[in-house]
Amino acid sequence: MLNPAVKLASNIFDKPEQKPTRDGFGEGLIEAGEKDKRVVALCADLAESTRMLPFKEKWPKRYVELGVAEQNLATVASGLANYGKIPFIASYATFSPGRNNEQIRTNICINNVPVKIVGSHAGVSVGPDGATHQALEDMALMRVLPRMTVISPCDSEEARKATLAAAAHNGPVYLRLAREKTPVMTTAATPFELGKAQVMWQPQDKRKNPDVAVFATGPLVHNALVAAKTLEEKFAIVVINIHTVKPLDTKTVTQWSKKAGAVVTVEEHQIAGGLGSAIAEVLAAQAPVPQEFIGVKDQFGQSGEPGELIAHYGMDVPHITAAITKVVKRKK
């Protein structure tokens, strides 16, 4: 059953509102800009599609246009942050943090200045644009940088809160966004704390240990919840939303993994280097249990409709239910 403590939307399984996470970022950026005058927005010729446009229109003097120059986007932002601003830089994740990785490493992370890197259009759900524009390795790139915080919001509302949290956090942040409309699961009342994982689905009988713990990040959290509901009669399942991939909430991850004795990880990202890897690193050392990985298996994406791509690359509900069933079997 849904965890009542996190106050999720009542229509979560019945025609939930559909909204892209990038929209929540755009709203959060305006709120962050109102709260703190140091917040500035920098963009590499993608203001509309990264949802920076409303900020630009509201505060043209706090908006900096870089043109199609992602290396300079990260570099100019590091200078602005060094001076005392809180810069958000937006592009597609394949270009930022893809193309400008070294600039982020040196000028932002070694320099230790609070630039917020916003990578939109992550995952195969970008759809028709194809492999070149579908970032599947961005979390891996950002997760390995010391000082970097990595946030992958599950829906538009969480993206809004994550944007505010990123602005308030005094350090580099990577915020991962998606292009496509996805279900809005959380509400304004849902708590959000950086680095704190959230139980969204739990067994009916809370005293009983679950059969499996599902850790999911990004909009695929919805698929994980639907999978849990589908298997409700068969298995006791806990679904945990990992919006902060780094620093990972290792306490919650190990606690539930020990209780369940089996783990499934779900992400719209390469299996190598993403959430599943991060969790495996922790569990191998602290609570080794069988783990199944839902994610892209060392492949590039391709053109198609978001839904058919999610299914083709093995991240739809049937693949998740199969992984849950398989991992429970492996326990025995």
Binding site: V40, K61, R62, V64, L66, G67, A69, Q71, N72, T75, V76, A77, S78, G79, L80, A81, N82, Y83, G84, K85, E102, Q103, T106, N107, I110, N111, N112
Partner: protein, 294 residues
């Protein structure tokens, strides 16, 4: 503020002290770059002893001018200049590149107060300086931002992204200085990847361009003053320097780009004698200007 003859004399003397310290620190480190730091000693002396508004006892002073060093590998010249200006004891220079030092092989902002940014990977300094200058202008700050870079890093596309950005935004509070010493690791710049006509390229990117002899302290200080009077554009001073300036066995020889004394080319001076020989040469030169009992 033009520079007086007396000041030029003091700056030149400081430049020699800085060169000596560079050789001493590189010998102690056993690694590091020699040609670039020696070639930029006059310009760094001019900055730290005349141009910069700064307070060595208060490196975080709000109103200080900011100096960004893009080609972080020449940081020994900056460390030496900072030490002689009073930021930290000159003896600390001998910790260069050693475990636990504040004087990292390439400079890091958080390690040493007075270092404005982390640098080394080429092509990133101009954009950082431009971003800083942009932020300062948003808030109406009066200090100036200086961005020092090499000629080799003009090969990097990121340098031109930054040049385009600064020109487009008319960042007149930014003055860039290019160390035009014509060498890079693989040889002469015009053989590795020709840069000329570099002045025209910057002009085309909406920069005010001044070319000077980088060892003519008066001319360099005048160029910095001229930049302050240009309100519609950023300025770049292309400073023509001699790599290894001050030690004739090193001058103009690209093989000294990344070698410290003791590990440099041995066709002129044997490796084991290089450090001692170069210091002697610098001290002799110093003797020509000041009393040898100085």
């Amino acid at each position: 503020m033009s520079v007086s003859d007396k000041e030029v004399e003091v700056i030149a003397e400081k430049a020699l002290q800085i060169r000596e310290t560079i050789i001493e620190m590189l010998v102690a480190a056993g690694s590091g770059h020699t040609a670039g730091p020696l070639g930029m000693a006059d310009i760094f002396a001019a900055f730290y002893f005349h141009i910069l508004k700064h307070d060595p006892k208060n490196p975080a002073w709000e109103e200080r001018d900011r100096m960004f060093l893009s080609n972080g590998h020449i940081t020994p010249v900056r460390y030496a200049a900072m030490a002689h200006a009073g930021y930290f004891p000159v003896e600390e220079c001998l910790t260069l590149r050693k475990f636990g030092t504040r004087l990292q092989g390439h400079p890091e902002r958080e390690r040493l107060p007075g270092v404005e940014t982390t640098s080394g990977p080429l092509g990133s300094g101009l954009g950082q300086a431009a971003g800083y200058a942009y932020g300062a202008r948003m808030d109406g700050k009066k200090f100036r931002v200086y961005g020092l870079m090499s000629d080799g890093e003009q090969d990097a596309g990121a340098t031109w992204e930054a040049a385009m950005f600064a020109g487009a935004n008319k960042l007149s509070n930014l003055t860039a200085v290019m160390d035009r010493n014509n060498i890079q690791i693989n040889g002469m710049t015009e053989n590795v990847m020709p840069l000329e006509n570099i002045a025209k390229k910057y002009e085309a990117f909406n920069w005010h361009v001044i070319e000077v002899d980088g060892h003519n302290i008066e001319a360099f200080c005048d160029a910095v003053d001229e930049a302050k009077a240009i309100y519609e554009k950023p300025t770049i001073i292309i400073a023509h320097t001699i790599p290894g300036k001050g030690i004739k066995e090193i001058e103009f020889d690209y093989r000294w780009h990344g070698a410290p004394p003791g590990k440099g080319p041995t066709d002129k001076i044997p490796a084991e004698k290089q450090g001692e020989y170069f210091l002697k040469e610098l001290r002799t030169l110093r003797g020509k200007i000041k009393s040898e009992h100085e």
